[in-house]
């Protein structure tokens, strides 16, 4: 038990109690994040129910390849993140494996943002930004793209926060300032990362798949 005392923080006397509290705390926060994105998805759902045709037309304009690649990237990053947190929890000195998985997760997160950047550039070129010279003729399509920019923007912000947290863990772990095995911060960061991935899992069919059949 001795080496975990370095991780013991202020009000706690027992380390596993502190870890339980950390996990419980992040799960309660994830419930609030679920409500946060859930409200956004509700807005999308109601607007889509009220403008079915326009949303189908607008959905067709999004680039499905960028969307699918990004989903694949995030699912893979979830794999590497899960590996990192489970390897840390196994507490068997798998230091190299943990560091490699953390680095891979951060890299995949960056890849997602890069692909997203290309997609945004293409959307701007095709005048898919709601406003005066909007590309499509259905007025309600502007509502779809209004939601598109907000939802993907807020998700990208959450992903960036996730990348920063993972990069911090990787650096601290690599420079040995920080004990990796059984460190609750890796599990907490992992849970947050998985939430960001789950949000994208729901955004993918809502943004990229409408209107593909007609």
């Amino acid at each position: 038990m001795s080496e975990t005392t370095s991780l013991l923080k202020e009000p706690w006397q027992y380390f596993d109690r502190q870890r339980e509290a950390g996990t419980f705390g992040i799960w309660v926060f994830l419930a609030s994040e679920l409500l946060f994105f859930g409200a956004l998805i509700l807005t999308y759902t109601v607007c889509r129910i009220e403008n079915v045709a326009a949303f189908a037309a607008a959905g067709r304009e999004t680039n499905i390849w960028y969307g699918t690649i990004n989903t694949a990237i995030l699912l893979t990053s979830s794999l590497t993140m899960a590996m990192a947190s489970q390897a840390a929890a196994a507490n068997e000195g798998l230091r190299r494996l943990i560091l490699w998985c953390l680095a891979a997760t951060a890299a995949l997160g960056l890849a997602f943002l890069v692909v997203k950047g290309f997609e945004y550039r293409e959307d701007i070129e095709r005048h898919l930004v709601p406003g005066a010279h909007f590309g499509l003729k259905q007025t309600a399509a502007q509502l779809f793209f209004g939601l598109y920019w907000i939802v993907t923007g807020v998700h990208a912000v959450h992903l960036t926060i996730g990348i920063i947290m993972v990069v911090r863990l990787t650096l601290l772990g690599y420079l040995n300032k920080f004990q990796l095995d059984e460190n609750p911060e890796i599990q907490v960061t992992g849970l947050y990362w998985h939430l960001v991935d789950i949000i994208w899992i729901f955004l993918y069919p809502l943004i990229y798949l409408p209107g593909r059949t007609s």
């Binding site: 045709a53 326009a54 003729k137 259905q138 007025t139 309600a140």
Partner: protein, 312 residues
């Protein structure tokens, strides 16, 4: 203006509302009396050091007490819900012979229009003892059509039509207020509802400047905006003809059946691709932004007049 202390009940609906209001008032008054009396007597009787008896408590198990008043409160509130809901449901159905008046709310004024085209600003003359149906829409923000004496209030949301009805039972002048905050002069957006006897209302209508009624305005718009190009009976373009359309149920291309009422016509003008009539191509351009709500109401009145002409 209504007297300070009591609000007149000027519609059939107002009586129901007042019955429920006074019922709730009596009930709340009783409950408050009981709670205040209990607190005061217990506070005085059992004040610190008073001589009141304080031995072991009687064996009333607090659980039975609790369940008792919980259930009592639950059933009382369920009854109140049923009483209020039944009054609400009974007043939902709009009587068929209602006089239809179009109201357009605009930042800081009310514009009303009678079926024969008479227009008023911040005023509305209506006959007594006759159901009146208001079809309201807003041109900018959310307003709220509120007539305290009628116990009637309905938010007027831009982009959709709000509908209420009432039947005045008293003649007189009643204040009309805007109840939903709508900007700087929200408190100036007031008007008057003038309830007149049937004959006075008829005289008043005839004296109004012969603003051509909705249907005439609609006919002019029908030609000016190019609707007649496709939808006129004589046009060769393959487009649904409007004679006898109003009130009929329309077969749509995706198999649905929809009744051709005001809302159907309004949506077909603004979003033609939403409900495409069976057997026709979705080629009609959308008029959203080109026609304001007043003009759409006139076109609807014209289309309806076509049907009435076709029937009789």
């Amino acid at each position: 203006m209504n007297p300070i202390f009591s609000l007149p009940e000027a519609t059939t609906h107002a009586e129901h509302v007042d019955h429920i209001f006074y019922g709730l008032l009596v009930l709340s008054g009783l409950t408050m009396l009981v709670v205040f009396a209990l607190i005061i007597t217990l506070a005085i009787r059992y004040r610190r050091g008073s001589g009141a008896k304080r031995g072991p408590l009687p064996e009333i198990v607090s659980r039975e007490f609790e369940i008792g008043w919980t259930m009592a409160t639950l059933f009382l509130f369920a009854f109140l819900f049923w009483w209020a809901a039944s009054a609400d449901l009974s007043s939902l159905e709009v009587p068929a012979n209602a006089l239809e008046i179009h109201v357009v709310a605009k930042q800081w004024m009310w514009k009303t229009q009678h079926p024969n085209g008479a227009r008023e600003i911040n005023a509305l003359h209506i006959p007594v003892d006759k159901p009146v149906r208001l079809v309201m829409t807003s041109q900018d923000v959310i307003h709220s059509f509120f007539v305290p004496a009628f116990r009637v209030k309905q938010d007027v949301v831009p982009g959709r039509e709000a509908e209420i009805w009432f039947q005045a039972t008293k003649t007189g002048v009643f204040p009309l207020l805007c109840a939903e905050y709508c900007g700087i002069d929200h408190s100036m957006m007031r008007g008057r509802i003038i309830v007149m006897r049937q004959e006075d209302y008829a005289d008043w209508l005839t004296q109004q400047p012969e603003g051509d009624d909705l249907a005439h305005v609609g006919a002019k718009l029908f030609v000016e905006r190019g609707c007649s190009g496709c939808h006129a009976d004589a046009s060769k373009v393959h487009a649904p003809k409007l004679a006898g359309l109003y009130g009929r149920s329309v077969q749509l291309s995706d198999g649905r059946q929809v009744k051709a009422d005001d809302r159907y016509i309004r949506d077909s003008i603004l979003q033609p691709k939403r409900d495409i009539t069976a057997g026709y191509e979705p080629v009609m351009p959308s008029y959203a932004g080109l026609l304001d709500d007043g003009e759409i109401q006139s076109l609807t009145a014209y289309i309806r007049s076509q049907t009435e002409k076709a029937n009789d």
